[in-house]
Amino acid sequence: MNKETQSIVVALLGGLLVSITLSHRFTSYVKPGFAPLLLIGGGILVVVGVLSLILAIRADARADRGRAAREAAREGNAPDDVDAGAGAAVAGGTVTAQDTGPDHSGLPDHDHDKSKAPWLILVPVLVLLLVAPPALGADAVARNASSQALAGVDVVARQSSTSKDGAGAGGGYKFNDGSGSAQDSSGSRRTMHFPALPAGANPSVGMKDVILRALYDADNSVEGVPVTVTGFIAPTGDGYTDGYTVARMVISCCAADANPMQLHIAGDAPYPSNTWVDAVVTVVPNTATIDNGYVPTVTLTKMTPVQQPDDPYEH
């Protein structure tokens, strides 16, 4: 790939990064905190690409003029090898210095120009431009499902160290059953303490928050209390034979580390998979067990389809 094409590809990639950031499509791939990084990185790539393109075109124009001058010099002399070489050296006295100039096309760079690797940059560029992959959905839920007590455990670890009994859960050395939380002396896993739910009827609560409360809250703050969660419809998970799932992916950095958070609902799904919904649900106590990957069952009060949220993931 030569300098001109490299410059165009780099500017294209940079422009694409800036554009997915400004149009908020980037939240399908990375966490929102990446916005300034993407803008700066993309901006630098655009500037580098455009400046390199200008320099490469100017160098080409000079090289063209240089070749014309050499041709002229050769025609003036007898066209045998020695003289042609000498002519090139004479005419090129200024020329070669220039055309190895900005585009650095001297011998050492040949190796670099020959590289095919830069062509691969076109793959993500074209995928983004033409297909624009959506945020991870129902397929990824089934694919990445594991015990969701594990998925929430960094929060468990963080909060339990500040909770009053300080059970030192999660990050601990001791083997545990995968529940993500050490048990207290009475054998209960409900060792965490959460802030009060937002006021009002059917308060909006994050999917991860609801599940952590359902699994670990010593104060049972979501038991019998209807809450509103936002997620998408997905097929039911392992350990359940009927019903369907309302799910949301949780990421800590980018979609490559996504983990699903699921709530199980009995009955037939009212909407197709991947439909985003606001659901008013009430957790059924003690339905999350190791056999169903700690997916609690909820009873559904109301479900309304909604637009995909600005940030499709929780964190």
Binding site: Y29, L37, D64, A151, V153, C253, D257
Partner: protein
């Protein structure tokens, strides 16, 4: 403008994924050759191939979109794009630093500040890794530039390994993720630095220059070019080279993420050795950014903490994405030796440091 004459662009480029075979041949196009430009056989330059790929992509957009619309491909392409998008800003940071070194820092600076004795130079370079606030993708072009600037390869490689593991951003992220296990930050610092230094020392003994691709020299003002032009041209060259291989790594990691079920994590925890092997393997194939891996490691609650430390030690030092980038930047002969060496040392150091910190 003529594109193919001056730069000697190869015709045999193989554009990925499109199956376009350019009908070019390797015509000798030495300047001042006997054949006048008009008689030369047509061979497409990069721009023509680029245009063809774009045209084909637009024409084939429908079938392409349908193919990528299957659930599996959708998950794959989202993860693939996510890794690329996430890594690019850090790669940009890396090539800016690399370009600045090439353009504005003369080689003499490094020979002055680096100790002459390799036994000392390696740990000094390793410790310098603290100063680069990025993740692993960015440090590859920088290490390459340091070698080109006359830094011993072993020292530059120690820097390459330590920078992504022990810089302040990564350590803070680790502290946040392992709130209940604050010792993890120190264990990670120790294991990351030790891995870098030990690999550097081993490379000093066994490394041979011919394993590495010949360096292209980009002089700071040596050939009369202005610093800014060198800066620009180095950034462009380094970025396109490293980013191409980053794409290979991202594709591999996305494939593993899509086909390896997450459930294999469960039920492993009881065996220390099994969990260490599993975590080392996962760190290699998941290719997480070193700024994010602590959060993922913390969520493996059935894994003993030593296994988590191995995950955090192997991940920044060697993974599928890094191995691809190293093969591209330093050469394949280098990568097939360096990657297994690093992997072995990182697993051993992670295990030993973990056992020292937390006991058996």
């Amino acid at each position: 403008m003529t594109l193919r004459d001056t730069t000697g662009t190869p015709a045999g480029v193989d554009p990925p994924g499109t199956g376009v075979e350019p009908a070019g041949t390797d015509v000798d196009d030495s300047l001042g050759g006997a054949s006048p430009p008009g008689k030369r056989g047509y061979r497409p330059g990069s721009l023509e191939i680029f245009g063809t790929i774009l045209l084909l992509a637009i024409v084939l957009r429908g079938p392409l979109a349908r193919w990528l619309d299957q659930p599996v491909m959708q998950s794959w392409s989202t993860v693939f794009v996510a890794i690329c998008v996430q890594a690019t800003p850090f790669l940009v940071l890396g090539v800016v630093v690399s370009g600045a070194i090439a353009a504005f820092v003369p080689a003499s600076v490094f020979s002055r500040i680096m100790p002459d004795r390799p036994a000392l130079a390696v740990p000094v370079a390793g410790a310098c890794g603290v100063a680069l606030p990025g993740c692993e993708c960015g440090s590859v072009p920088i290490a390459n530039r340091l070698i080109e600037r006359g830094v011993r390869p072993s020292a530059a490689l120690a820097f390459l390994l330590s920078a992504p593991a022990i810089n302040p951003i990564v350590l803070v992220a680790t502290a946040v993720a392992f709130n209940s296990e604050p010792v993890m930050v120190w264990a990670r610092l120790a294991a990351g630095l030790l891995t870098a230094v030990i690999v550097g020392w081993i490379w000093e003994r066994i490394g041979r220059p011919e394993w590495m691709k010949p360096q292209r020299r980009v002089g700071a003002g040596e050939d009369g070019r202005s610093g800014w032009r060198v800066f620009l041209s180095t950034m462009l060259g380094d970025f396109t080279q490293a980013a191409g291989f980053l794409v290979i790594g991202a594709a591999a990691a996305a494939t593993f993420k899509t086909i390896v079920p997450a459930r294999i994590m469960e039920g492993i925890g009881s065996s220390l050795f099994l969990s260490i092997a599993l975590m080392a393997g996962l760190a290699f194939i998941l290719a997480l950014c070193s700024e994010a891996d602590a959060f993922v490691a913390a969520s493996f609650s059935t894994i003993p903490v030593v296994g988590k430390l191995v995950f955090l030690t192997v991940g920044p030092a060697v993974d599928v994405k890094l191995a691809a980038m190293q093969a591209g930047v330093f050469g394949r002969k280098f990568a097939v030796r360096f990657a297994p060496l690093t992997f072995g040392v990182a697993v051993t150091v992670g295990t030993v440091v973990g056992l020292l910190f937390w006991g058996w």
